[in-house]
């Protein structure tokens, strides 16, 4: 599904995407959070951009670990430890591999979800990034098990993540800063679920 060159290409696209979407993501976060998600994500991936030349010496596992380290260090908001440790654990999961298969990717998603749930003490249905990640992973597993076509599986994942983002509009936030708003958080999509969906789309388009 993705060798090192492909992974770097995807990372490059994510860096570009976060730069382009920073105002949109920040706007979403302004309404129900502390208004820094887009700026934070962009700051994180700009740090990754600076690291890109050093990735020539690393394999896919080391690259993802370093991406996690950069995000953890410079993001500043909750997305830092959440995405940061998800990338880091994904790198650990891939230990010794030089290529990422669809089975690996599903394993990385499972590890990431587990880590995010552990740090954020959140479950599905609380208006968080998990509301895109969990259904997307479920859809990818089902689709890939059915016919072994990873392209189709990734597309199914993106569709489920997008539906997940829509679903976050209908529910009350009970985690994070948005939880202070209670019912006023209804009607607005979750910025974290949105940023995850952008990243998954990049994977799906390029892998």
């Amino acid at each position: 599904m993705a060798d090192k060159a492909k992974l770097l290409e995807i990372l490059d696209r994510v860096i570009q995407d976060m730069d382009e979407q920073k105002l949109f993501l920040t706007e979403l976060d302004n309404v129900i959070g502390d208004g820094d998600h887009g700026i934070n994500m962009d700051r994180g991936f700009q740090a990754v951009k600076k690291q890109m030349p050093t990735y020539a010496d690393l394999e896919v596992d080391g690259i993802l670990k370093d991406v996690g380290k950069q995000l953890m260090k410079v993001v500043g908001g909750s997305a830092g430890p959440l995405y940061g440790s998800a990338f880091k654990k994904s790198g650990v999961y891939l230990k010794g591999k030089t290529e990422i298969t669809m089975d690996d990717f599903i394993g990385m998603m499972d590890t990431s979800i587990e880590q995010i749930q552990k740090l954020g003490h959140a479950v599905e249905g609380e208006k968080t990034m998990l509301d895109a990640m969990i259904p997307a992973t479920r859809a990818m597993k089902e689709s890939y098990a059915a016919d072994g076509d990873y392209k189709k599986a990734l597309e199914a994942g993106v569709a489920a993540a997008e539906a997940g983002v829509e679903y976050t509009k209908t529910i009350i936030a009970t985690k994070g800063r948005a939880s202070y708003l209670g019912e006023r958080s209804i009607g607005h999509q979750d910025p974290g679920a949105t940023s995850f969906t952008f990243m998954l789309k990049d994977v799906s388009e390029l892998a």
Binding site: D34, K73, V75, G77, L82, S85, R177
Partner: protein
């Protein structure tokens, strides 16, 4: 002496909590890890890690946090420090009251268990 690290989204808030606690417990080893590297609002993995390492002794260090990413970033730092076998614990308590209660007990030379207990007791503290 047990060290105390204060993690807040605000650099000023973290620093002032340390100053406030030092009024009653001037000897307590405390460090502020507030805001981001550039002083803006947020939490910094590096600041938290440096603050813990700065005041770390075998007596251990407790960390008090304000909310959200302060808690999660601290948890991520602690997970990495645990690999080095360090005695560092985060305590769930009101940050100002907990800092004052913990610093007073820590400056008396109490064990980390007692300092944690003192910080936790701030949860039950009635204001009136």
């Amino acid at each position: 002496m047990v060290g105390i690290v204060i993690v807040s989204h605000s650099q000023k808030l973290a620093e002032d909590i340390v100053d406030l606690a030092h009024l009653m417990a001037a000897d307590a080893p405390m460090r502020a890890a507030g805001g981001m590297e550039d002083g803006g609002f947020g939490t910094s993995y590096d600041k938290i890690e440096t603050a813990i390492e700065d005041i770390y002794t075998d007596d251990g260090v407790i960390v008090l946090m304000d909310l959200g990413s302060a808690v999660m970033t601290t948890e991520a730092v602690l997970e990495d420090l645990k690999d080095d076998d360090k005695l560092v614990e985060m305590v769930d308590c009101p940050i100002v009251e907990g800092a004052i209660a913990a610093s007073v007990v820590a400056s008396g030379g109490a064990s980390i268990e007692d300092v944690i207990e003192a910080a936790k007791s701030a949860r039950e503290m009635k204001k009136f």
